[in-house]
Amino acid sequence: MIFNSLEFAIFLPIVFFLYWLVLGRMRKAQNGFLVLASYVFYGWWDWRFLILIFASSLVDYLVGLGLGKVADNKVTTRKIMLSISLFTNLGLLGIFKYYNFFVESLSEAVTLFGQQLDVTTLSWVLPVGISFYTFQTLSYSIDVYRKKMEPVHDPVAFFAYVSFFPQLVAGPIERASHLVPQFMKPRAFSYNHASDGLRQILWGLFKKMVIADNCAVLVNQIFDTPESYPGSILALGAILFAFQIYGDFSGYSDIAIGTARLFGFDIMRNFAYPYFSRDIAEFWRRWHISLSSWFKDYLYIPLGGSRTKPWKIYRNIAVIFLVSGFWHGANWTFIAWGALHALSFFPLLISKKNRLHITPIAEGKRLPTGRELFQILCTFTIVCVTWVFFRADSLTDAFTYLWRAISTIHSDLPVFASYIAHEAFEPLIMIIVLLVIEWTQREHQHGLNLRKVQWAPVRYAIYYAIIFIIFQYGGEQQDFIYFQF
């Protein structure tokens, strides 16, 4: 089931009513009901893969209980238990997501030495959201192993944490230490919490259905046949993809966070207006925050983080960017995408300017300064170049696309003008609407946080205007990009 579907529009109110009106004072029953609802939500896509979620949840639940019982001085036993969790979750990922990539890459490498290797590839479908829920359960086992949290004894609460439907298939990747305690305590309905959740859902739907789905049509045409377009349109294609993926993924996150709020849960923020970043370091503090912080806590810091020898710091940075790229998909294009971000980050690290922009941009002011605007544009340009690798089917395609974009950028400008006027006009207007609203709301959690608008009719007019835009200008329904990860 996807968020921008009629099925979800029916599913959500039913679950909401049963959760609050029927089970309102029974925390355990509420948790059990959430597990059931989450499994229905996931099984709507393919019920057979529910067994993977169940297996992942069960293993980590048992590992957690085991770690709680083993004394601290039995280091080897504790390590074995953690290894069971790592082996199960990374094993699932390895088989379903990376097996074909590894055997094909091995076969190609062997071919370079004049040998042939017969490999068997798997034609399995990648289970939706597997990268998200395996990382979520892993965080629990690692935190219990590190004694950062107590093991969860209530199996229903733990299963509800792993399968919580708002963020099950595309994040945010929640930490057990943050979300599990919310399942353990009674919840009370909060009007402000729920109504702000609805606003965030509406804003997420705008980003997904108006921005991402409209950009997707043009992006698919341009990236499928780049040889048919002049460089200027290819450059535009990269920009449109930047907004497609932002609208798609941050839109999903907004709907997930808003939906969780309807049920009395707070899940972590995943995007903080990343395209207003002044450098790549700031971009990574604002883009896919839950994944960046996951890698920081469970990979970067265990490797030594920034409190080690300088060469190790660079190595650690390179590792997390490469692994982050590889997490997105089993293709060299994603690894190249991660490597390019690492290369863009190193100059900031060397000059010790990677933590220069911690405060919100133009804080307390209406507009950015000329310098800030220039920094934003430079950062956005770098990000757009890297998105070409992310979107392309192969490294060759990515380099060909970029070379054609650069070498023919000045040709066929009338064609470019005609393309803007006839094909891209509507999506570009909507992107401007998005940027204006997000700029004015950049100090708030999401684009429709209208606390400053005191007069209710104006607020409601804005909500109806957004609904009208979604209805009138919503594009052809597309799958969420991050489902494939």
Binding site: S5, E7, Y463, Y464
Partner: protein
């Protein structure tokens, strides 16, 4: 909680107001069926598909091709929709893909995405305006034929949007089901007996049932459009060489795939043809197109015929549905003439049946009686093979 629910209820009232009448109307007329249901009921139960608000027919027809795997197809715009399966010796071997293409760029796209085994013969209607240098469609991308079933929610949203646009522009057509209409999908099928049959041809219910109110055989509507010189009737200085090249590419692709193509320029009513002739210099795509197409068809060992003037078919102006669409009877004659010059096409036809149907056509518009006609006219039953020699 109570406050939240009350506010949500009040907030959603305008949404109910927008969606409820649209959903009731669209569901009553079966406008929201999935492609799978449309294909199944059209092919197995003979349901007429006549949607009033959306037009996914090129995708529906593509899905039909997947199951039907015809040997002969008619390909073109609405100006090939009059070919019927009963003209062929094996009716199930024919399918009419009329309106699957709208411009010359679509031809290659259609062929490259053709599902399953390719047909043996394509009867290709080449609208004259497709090759006009002023055809704005030449700037557009080819159609996408990748079939993807849309969700009910998507169909509902699109249908609701189209419903209110129709309401704002022309008002909503309401009415009751035409007596005897049991198997329909869509408003036009239900209220007007208009839509696509199982063989892909089109039933012009409204035109036939209200023939005396049509543009009265002197084609004033069509001629008025020529006078305005807009859209498909826009004048042009020359034939579009790019369009000719695209057709040539299509023919070469067909030849490589061992598909035989029989092309024709579809007929205009005689009054319309005569009106074009008054300004022959600014309509080169009407009068000179055949001369440019013939060499490329011949180079690929294929035939293209020019039936731009309906009189070349020994047909009269009653055998039309409007100024630029011949009737089924007219196209029956066209098919017979074309097959007389093409042995491959002839091998798929039943010549005796063609002769019988031409001789016993119910009226100028209907070969066999499907619908009552307010003003049935007698077709000109004479047909002369030698007329094709032009």
């Amino acid at each position: 909680m109570k406050r939240f629910l009350i506010k949500c209820g009040l907030f959603s009232i305008p949404l109910w107001v927008i969606f409820t009448p649209a959903v009731i109307h669209l569901e009553t007329h079966r406008e929201l069926e999935s492609t799978a249901v449309m294909v199944s009921q059209n092919q197995h139960d003979g349901a007429l598909i006549g949607l009033g608000y959306t037009d996914p027919m090129h995708l529906v027809k593509h899905a039909v091709l997947q199951n039907r795997q015809p040997e002969v197809i008619a390909l073109g715009t609405s100006r090939v929709l009059q070919f019927r399966e009963f003209c062929f010796s094996k009716p199930e071997s024919f399918y009419n893909c009329g309106r699957s293409v709208g411009k010359v760029q679509d031809l290659e796209a259609f062929l490259s995405s053709y599902p399953g085994e390719k047909p043996k013969v394509i009867i290709l209607g080449l609208d004259q305006d497709m090759c006009s240098v002023n055809d704005e469609d030449m700037l557009k991308d080819p159609r996408a034929y990748q079939f993807k079933e849309t969700s009910y929610g998507t169909r509902l949203t699109k249908g609701t949007k189209a419903f209110w646009e129709a309401w704002l522009n022309d008002g909503i057509v309401t009415g009751t089901t035409i007596p005897g209409t049991t198997n329909f999908i869509g408003r036009n099928a239900r209220l007007e007996n208009e839509g696509y049959r199982a063989d892909g041809s089109y039933c012009y219910g409204r035109v036939i049932r209200q023939s005396n109110q049509q543009d009265a055989y002197d084609f004033q509507q069509t001629i008025g459009r020529i006078d305005k010189g807009k859209g498909r009737f826009a004048p042009a200085t020359e034939i579009n060489s790019g369009a000719i090249q695209q057709i040539d590419n299509f023919l070469k692709s067909c030849r490589e795939m061992e598909i035989h193509v029989v092309g024709f320029l579809p007929p205009y009513g005689s009054a319309v043809y005569d009106r074009f002739k008054e300004d022959a210099l600014i309509y080169p795509h009407v009068f000179d197109l055949h001369g440019q197409l013939k060499p490329i068809f011949e180079a690929n060992k294929m035939l293209v015929e020019d039936y731009t003037d309906i009189r070349s078919l020994s047909a009269n102006d009653f055998e039309t549905t409007d100024g630029f669409h011949g009737s089924e009877v007219c196209y029956l004659k066209l098919l017979k003439l074309m097959a007389a010059n093409d042995t491959i096409l002839m091998s798929y036809l039943d010549n005796n049946s063609l002769d019988y149907h031409i001789a016993h056509a119910f009226s100028a518009r209907q070969v066999v009686k499907e619908l009552p006609e307010a003003d049935p006219r007698v077709p000109n039953k004479e047909i002369s093979i030698k007329d094709t020699s032009k």
